[in-house]
């Protein structure tokens, strides 16, 4: 049974619908990411779960109980804000202890749990520091400890890593995942960084303009994007215009001079999207000319001008000879590496 359930939740600010028809069920212990561009309603959805905003329509349930009827102070959720929102006049330990104090945890137990929580996020010895005297990464850890120490039923993270530099962010991602695995708290992470969503989550909810585009495991959303938006948003992709030719038998999918047996259930104009790393150079296929060849250490990046428009190809730097700039090549890929969607604009 679903642990946390959002049932057709919608939020309107005046006439503007910011979140619409949002349904999701989260299993206990699951790590979910809300992924989407800025302004697509991720924070709004999270704040509705937290209770800082009331949904205009729909229901939110936790273990079957209506969550919207419970005051935010009584929901018992742990929240890490994008700005951390630490209490600047309290030390790290006092910050972490605040939630326990509100729960009337006896002093001895409180001290013990605060110490353990700070140790868990790697801040043992920083108990008496004030937040303004800590680095961004350390403040972020205090915020995490403060949210976790109350043993929340669900942990809500609103872009907690976006203020950190790339290296620290990667470290914190690994640490976050480890902590989450160890204590098994159901977690929802808001992010607009697709790498972060993919490396951390069990499932990703891809959002655009207040609507869910796709819910799936990182692999599913990457390899079988349900919409053009998802395939564009999750990493680089090539979209080729093609058609399904029903005049021949068996029906064929044609994109330029590339052709393959057509997948079932589609006809007419289609979009074929292929990830750059799934395209190879072959003897047959889409004819293209290499415009630029860029060396990037462990791989080569080719920018090509193909008969179906610009294309990007990524090849592993495996020591093999690679085509040079200006070469005419044929682009080819396996049918299972592409996803085909009906083309709306045709």
């Amino acid at each position: 049974m679903a642990y946390l359930e959002l049932d057709r939740v919608a939020k309107q600010f005046g006439a503007q619908t910011v979140v619409d028809d949002f349904s999701l069920s989260v299993g206990k212990g699951e790590f979910i990411s809300f992924l989407g561009p800025s302004g697509c309603g991720k924070t709004t959805t999270l704040q509705m779960i937290a209770g800082f905003l009331d949904p205009t329509r729909g229901a939110i349930r936790l273990e079957g109980k209506d969550l919207t009827a419970i005051h935010p102070a009584k929901r018992g959720l742990g929240i890490v804000f994008q700005s951390y929102a630490l209490f600047p006049h309290m030390t790290a330990a006092e910050n972490v202890a605040f939630g326990l104090e509100m729960r009337n945890v006896p002093r001895n137990e409180r001290a013990e749990r605060v110490r353990a929580a700070l140790a868990m996020v790697g801040l043992a010895g920083y108990e008496d520091r004030h937040p303004r005297r800590m680095s961004g990464g350390q403040q972020q850890r205090v915020a995490l400890a403060r949210a976790l120490v109350i043993k929340p039923s669900v942990l809500l993270l609103d872009e907690p890593l976006s203020n950190l530099d790339a290296k620290l962010r990667e470290e914190m991602q690994i640490e976050l995942r480890q902590i989450q695995r160890t204590i098994g708290t159901t977690t929802i992470l808001v992010t607009h960084d697709q790498n972060e969503a993919m490396s951390l989550s069990d499932r990703i909810v891809v959002m655009s303009q207040g609507k869910i585009e796709q819910i799936g495991t990182p692999q599913e959303t990457y390899e079988k994007p349900a919409s053009a938006f998802v395939s564009q948003f999750l990493g680089k992709t090539n979209d080729f215009a093609g058609t399904i030719d029903r005049t021949v038998a068996p029906t064929q999918l044609v994109a330029g001079s590339w052709r393959a047996p057509a997948p079932a259930g589609l006809g007419g104009p289609v979009t074929v999207s292929v990830r750059p790393e799934r395209i190879g150079f072959g003897d047959t296929g889409l004819s293209a000319k290499i415009i630029a060849r860029i060396f990037q250490g462990n791989h080569w990046l080719f920018q090509c001008d193909s008969e179906c428009g610009p294309a990007i190809v990524i090849r592993q730097n495996d020591g093999q000879a690679q085509p040079a700039e200006g070469d005419a090549v044929r682009l080819t890929w396996r049918p299972e590496d592409m996803s085909v969607r009906a083309r709306a604009d045709a």
């Binding site: 935010p72 102070a73 804000f81 700005s83 929102a85 630490l86 209490f87 605040f98 509100m102």
Partner: protein
């Protein structure tokens, strides 16, 4: 850079600030020094001011209980005014800060109002509101049974405190508001998610963080109230004097300039000591919030 150029660029800041500096020295420092010197001169009904160095004025201020009472009254009024503005102004700023755009600017205008109205009109307005038996406030309070006889307003300390608190309110509200602007917009949500009630959030999270704003507002209000002239002059008249109105009287009515200068100097020194002292105390106490 050559040595000459370096020297020139080192001199540039002085040259650029020279006009302002000269104005500052000319209209503030020199008259101030002359006032201090004046306070050591002698004065007599018939001989006028004698430029000698004596401690007569200072001795008179130190020994005559009239001056002690007057200074005590000055600071009592200033403290009560400060207290009143803090108690009313801090919540006012907090509420104002939570209002939505249009209402916010409307109420901000109302709060800044007293600064835009002439001190005479404002004070007379208050006098009318109390105004013996027929004043609106007194009538209301009496009909509610809160008081038996009307609260006297003119020539009373109560009147001075109320009128001063009114005009000082903007300084407190703006100062607290500045502190509120520095608050993380999510901080109340953070406290709420940890289980804090609205009262606890105000007491444990908001208050400690706006306290520096309240205190710096208090310093401004206190020093302005203790040296205020117009409002106490209109309400207190010649009967109920504070330091500023007394110095004025010595200068312009008794013509005892040295004594007036001594009163003014003492007020200045006391204020500077109080302000600097409490400021450094606050900065030390709230080092973490200020940083």
């Amino acid at each position: 850079m050559s040595a000459a150029a370096e020297e020139r660029s080192a001199r540039a800041p002085w040259a650029l600030t020279a006009p302002a500096l000269m104005l500052f020295v000319g209209v503030l420092l020199i008259p101030l020094a002359m006032t201090v010197m004046l306070s050591f001169h002698d004065w007599g009904q018939y001989k006028g001011i004698e430029p000698v160095f004596i401690l007569k004025n200072w001795h008179e201020i130190a020994t005559d209980p009239y001056y002690a009472e007057m200074f005590w009254r000055t600071f009592r009024i200033a403290i009560l005014t400060t207290f009143l503005t803090a108690v009313l102004g801090a919540p006012e700023a907090y509420i104002l800060n939570r209002m939505s755009g249009r209402w916010k600017s409307f109420f901000l205008l109302i709060i800044l109002g007293p600064l835009l109205i002439s001190v005479v009109a404002r004070t007379l307005g208050w006098a009318l509101l109390f105004g013996g038996n027929n004043g609106l406030v007194n009538k209301l309070l009496m009909s509610l049974g809160a008081i038996r006889s009307p609260i006297p307003f003119m020539f009373t300390e109560t009147g001075m405190v109320i009128a001063l608190a009114h005009v000082m309110m903007p300084f407190m509200v703006l100062s607290v508001w500045a502190a509120l602007q520095r608050l993380d917009p999510q901080i109340e949500n953070a406290a709420m998610s940890l289980g804090a009630s609205p009262a606890t959030i105000i007491r444990r999270i908001i208050m400690p963080q706006i306290m520096p704003g309240v205190l710096s507002g208090a310093i401004i209000v206190f020093s302005l109230s203790a040296s205020a002239f117009a409002t106490p002059a209109i309400i207190g008249g010649r009967r109920l004097k504070v330091a500023a109105t007394l110095a004025y009287d010595e200068f312009l009515n008794t013509l005892n300039w040295p004594l007036g200068a001594a009163v003014a100097t003492l007020l200045l020194v006391a204020l500077v000591l109080i302000v600097v002292g409490s400021n450094s105390l606050i900065e030390r106490r709230y080092a973490e919030v200020f940083r």
